[in-house]
Assembly symmetry: C2
Homo-oligomer: 280 residues x 2
Amino acid sequence: MPTRRAAVVGLGLIGGSIARDLASRGVAVSGYDANAREVDGACREGIIDRVLDASFAGVADADLVVIAVPVDAAPTVLARIAPHARSATLITDVGSTKARIVAAAATLGIGDRFIGSHPLAGSHRSGWESSQSGMFADARVYLCPAPNATMASIRAATDLWHELGARPTLIGAAQHDERLAWTSHMPQMISGSLALALSRAGIARDELGPGGLTMTRLAGSSPAMWTAIAAENARAIDDALAAAERELASLRVLLGGGDIEALRHRLSTARAWFDGRQAD
Amino acid sequence: MPTRRAAVVGLGLIGGSIARDLASRGVAVSGYDANAREVDGACREGIIDRVLDASFAGVADADLVVIAVPVDAAPTVLARIAPHARSATLITDVGSTKARIVAAAATLGIGDRFIGSHPLAGSHRSGWESSQSGMFADARVYLCPAPNATMASIRAATDLWHELGARPTLIGAAQHDERLAWTSHMPQMISGSLALALSRAGIARDELGPGGLTMTRLAGSSPAMWTAIAAENARAIDDALAAAERELASLRVLLGGGDIEALRHRLSTARAWFDGRQAD
């Protein structure tokens, strides 16, 4: 059964972009955001036709509920939505960590209809003004079903993301969080560390060349959003950061010792990985 | 006096792009590259009208000589060019380190006409096929004159880069190398460390999201070019890497200790730096 009415809670970069894609496909979208500016933007552009209040009673007639708030706020929001989401055949979120929200859904008795989503899309920008239609075209989207999720809700989540042009992949929530610590969270923290080192050295960002700008772009991301992700996935992120720190330290040993051949070999191994070749 | 004949030694990403911009402005360009593929490409596209051999005797009638080879090869190339560069009013290079090449020029007795250049432009790609016209539009270009460089040659270098649309800035060679260790070389080594950590963890690049892809792009750079830069500026790069390592380690302490408020503050400081605001 196609989605007729969706409720999107959180109208920032990701939630706003989902709302745009749904509206452009003829889905009626109810929207909520704690920030009035985001709500006004979505109304002014005619993307949402109904504004939800913090009671979330208004989600009652939505067959799709999407939660797009920082991961530390998501379980509370889900708890407030659960009693009202009677008509929803699919309840999902878009957070970068999945174990906690999936467990919360099971506890709340909506695990049968909850499939956590994590689209690998977006940028360092945030807010409704950064949202755009077509953001999920060809993006990988991890789907983490609650333990008792029905096949029907898994199919609904898969269909939703296919409809938005994305490439959904099923993965367990714990495995997802472990994997993302390496592929996303650790690189984010390293960009922040680089920015902090440059800031402390009194070097402004506009003094950087293209490479330095690239490496510090993620430092412009939302501190609130990333603090929540880091707190929730701290152990796995710390493991990944420790691995990066080891590589950094061993490059420094080669630099300090003037072992140029070994340094060339390490950089060639990195290049081989970049090219998708077997690292020798 | 406008440039009539330029000699570009090294037809890769930067040298090739300079040759394209000069040719499009009616300058006759002689070209050299140790790799026949680059030379063939430049001839086939009609960018160079004369091929130089390794004796560099052919630079005799060039009023501009540009050396665009890896920094470890540049001093040797400059030594072979010096005796032939009789008509050159400006001899320059484009390397990411400047102290060594500037000193070499003075030793070779061509310091009066040598102004080292370092355009902050390009990408992780390399070779003629990556070169493009207009690459230096609005790019910052550091100019490092030899100690005895004449005002005329400094003016010639400034005019050259203005003509290519860039923003030339005078800076001492030693100060340049110190600064670039932080703004370019250290970020490059960190991208390599990240790639090595992911490679060791068995994670392929195509599993990364947009943030991870951004942070590992520089790992695709030329290992030979970056090994040479790292070797030449090792001490300063090591200082910058040590600073980044300290920030990384202190973020790990906050993660490990669950000090979420302090973590939020650090990420906010990084964001403030990104936004060009005073880091609090």
